[in-house]
Amino acid sequence: MRRIYAKEEVCIGCRLCEIHCIVQHSRSKKIIKAFQEEEDRPLPGLFVEESGPVSFAVQCRHCDDAQCVAACMTGAMRKDDQTGAVTHDADKCVGCWMCIMVCPAGAIRRDLEHGKIASKCDLCGGEDTPVCVERCPNEALTFEDRGE
């Protein structure tokens, strides 16, 4: 399946991927409105890890054998047969955080503002290029099928 890959050697740590992810998952999908007016703004589904000059965006690997799906007791975490994307249903989530415990990539975070919702990448639907890849100013993110 097509996955997002980070090229750490050209990640510039600007965090525009996080910003555009938030916009894409906001109600209005309009950047200024999402940040200035919408109060229930979601967390970004990916986040930039930094250590000194090295940085790169960490996001869900959408594992074939997704541990988070196996660990989820309510079925909130689900792997889509069609796109391969691992998605999260906020309505079913009870906030046990087992997904966070088992995630090998550390790609799931608690959304404390919204209570029990786990926040993670949903590949923006999985069909078109995800917005973080599309908007990365230095092409440090790619969306491709590496046969993994």
């Binding site: 510039i12 600007c14 525009l16 910003i19 000059p53 230095n138």
Partner: protein, 504 residues
């Protein structure tokens, strides 16, 4: 210490109605112009060190930022202008030579803008380059005085031995920019784009990083006064060798790469200790005459077994024609001439702005002189120094150049906004810096693509020019000054340029 009397050159205008406080500007400015106060949840911008490089403006996702010249006006004065006063204040506070980078920003005349090109009408047909083949291929190097042919087998066979030539698919090369003055990724982009476009880039005097040896067939290596990184392998790896005598932005001045920029990779490539200043002397200490130059040219030819052209790069100075003639007679296969508008990674401002000749006049003078002396075929001429687009290039070729070198335009293609702060090593675009935080900002894949696009676009435009003039090969335009006319030039300027006034 008392306060500085300097005032800020630029100010940031932040449209609060658009700012989303995402702090991209904070993270992208190496000059620490922007900051975020989390106590008051406020974005602040202090124009102090703003170089107007446009990095924050370009990356701001809501277009909330603009950079403007600070509104403060110096009292109007035609002599004591703001920049003049600022220069004096800086020197009064530091006691130092004012440094700058890139080509001069003074309004030196750009003769290209006073030269117009010809086109075909009625009596000679123009050519549509989209429908008919158009030849831009250019060979640089020594051409024989005459061609001897052997007809003994019936079909003619070339008897003369032709010296090794550089084959360019377009008459545009990237001029010398050293690894050190620009980043690894910038060098890599130039090398890859040269390979893709079938042309050449020049290493400058910084040696050749081991990773770039694979681009050797598209590389011109420089031997400059500091001899940095010059080894048999370095010479062997290249397609051609260039002896750098001078640079348009700083004729008569050597180079200076500050120790802060000399990291491990650069120290290995230049063969100097890490952290030490890389100072190249003003002259080559083994070249004090044309005869000495001949010795070095032939030493390099011997060292490479006469397998590659050896060129000489000089800056355009008063006796440029005589110097070029001497260099050709000394054995140079290519003469590169760098005009007063040529760029640099670092130079004293007064030197950059006041020494040298416009490339147009120097090029015309050199081409005329070599023709008069009957030695024009012995060397190719490469013109450099502030070429802004295909029109300048076409005019230069008609004026007598075989090819041109471009560098500033290449940097702009990679993101440079000509802020003239290369010498600080804090290039926000990741080009003229070695800071590990900043160099990653130039993705070499992106850089290569943008440079390749630029070469392609200019080449297409050159073909359009040729078609309009009714010629189908750049060779038919080369040195053909009948295609040029001067507008608004004095008789003396027209005489030196060797062109007629428009209307004549």
């Amino acid at each position: 210490m008392t306060i500085s009397y300097l005032t800020d050159d630029y100010e940031i205008v932040r449209d609060e109605s658009k700012c989303i406080k995402c702090q991209v500007c904070v993270r992208q400015c190496a000059n620490a112009v922007h900051s975020y106060d989390d106590e008051s949840d406020e974005m602040n911008s202090d124009g102090g060190d703003c170089a107007a490089c446009q990095r924050c403006v370009t990356l701001c996702p809501t277009k909330a930022l603009s950079v403007r010249r600070r509104a403060t006006e110096f009292r109007q004065n035609a002599n004591w202008t703001g920049p003049v006063q600022t220069g004096i204040v800086k020197q009064a506070e530091t006691g130092g030579v004012l440094l700058t980078s890139m080509g001069t920003d003074k309004p030196h005349p750009i003769y290209w803008d006073n030269i117009v090109l010809n086109a075909s009408q009625v009596t000679n047909p123009s050519i549509d380059p989209l429908r008919e083949p158009m030849e831009l291929r250019t060979y640089l190097g020594r051409k024989p005085d005459s061609l001897d042919l052997d007809f003994s087998d019936g079909a003619p066979r070339l008897k003369s031995q032709i010296d090794k030539q550089l084959k360019l698919e377009t008459p545009i090369m990237f001029s010398a920019m050293s690894y050190g003055s620009i980043s690894y990724n910038a060098c890599l982009s130039l090398a890859r784009a040269s390979q893709a476009a079938g042309t050449f880039y020049n290493t400058g005097e910084g040696g050749l990083h081991k990773d770039f040896y694979e681009y050797g067939p598209n590389t011109i290596v420089q031997v400059a006064s500091g001899r940095f990184g010059v080894t048999p392998e370095y010479l062997e790896a290249a397609a051609a060798i260039e002896i750098k005598i001078g640079q348009g932005a700083k004729p008569g001045i050597g180079g200076h790469l500050p120790g802060e920029k000399v990291n491990k990779a650069i120290s290995e490539t230049r063969m100097i200790p890490e952290g030490s200043d890389a100072i190249s002397p003003a002259p080559h200490h083994d070249i004090y005459s044309i005869e000495d130059l001949r010795q070095l040219i032939y030493a390099l030819k011997e060292a490479t077994n006469y397998t590659k052209p050896v060129g000489v790069k000089i800056s355009a100075v008063h006796n440029v024609a005589a110097i070029a003639s001497g260099s050709v007679r000394a054995g140079a296969d290519i003469i590169a001439i760098d005009g007063i508008r040529g760029g640099t990674g670092a130079a004293p401002t007064v030197i950059r702005d006041n020494i040298g000749l416009p490339i147009e006049l120097a090029l015309a003078a050199v081409d005329s002189r070599l023709r008069e002396e009957g030695i024009r075929n012995q060397a190719s001429i490469v013109a450099a120094g502030g070429f802004r687009g295909s029109a300048d290039i076409v005019k230069a070729i008609a004026l007598g150049a075989d090819a041109v070198y471009v560098a500033t335009a290449a940097l702009i293609a990679m993101g440079c906004h000509v802020c003239q702060k290369c010498y600080t090593g804090r290039c926000n675009w990741g080009i003229a810096t070695q800071d590990p935080y900043l160099v990653r900002r130039l993705n070499p894949d992106v850089g290569t693509r943008r440079l390749t696009n630029l070469l392609r676009a200019w080449s297409l435009e050159i073909k359009e020019f040729l078609g309009a003039m009714g010629v189908n090969a750049i060779e038919s335009l080369r040195g053909n000054r009948a295609h040029l006319r001067g507008v608004g030039l004095t008789d003396t300027e027209l005489r030196i340029l060797g062109i007629q006034p428009a209307g004549d």
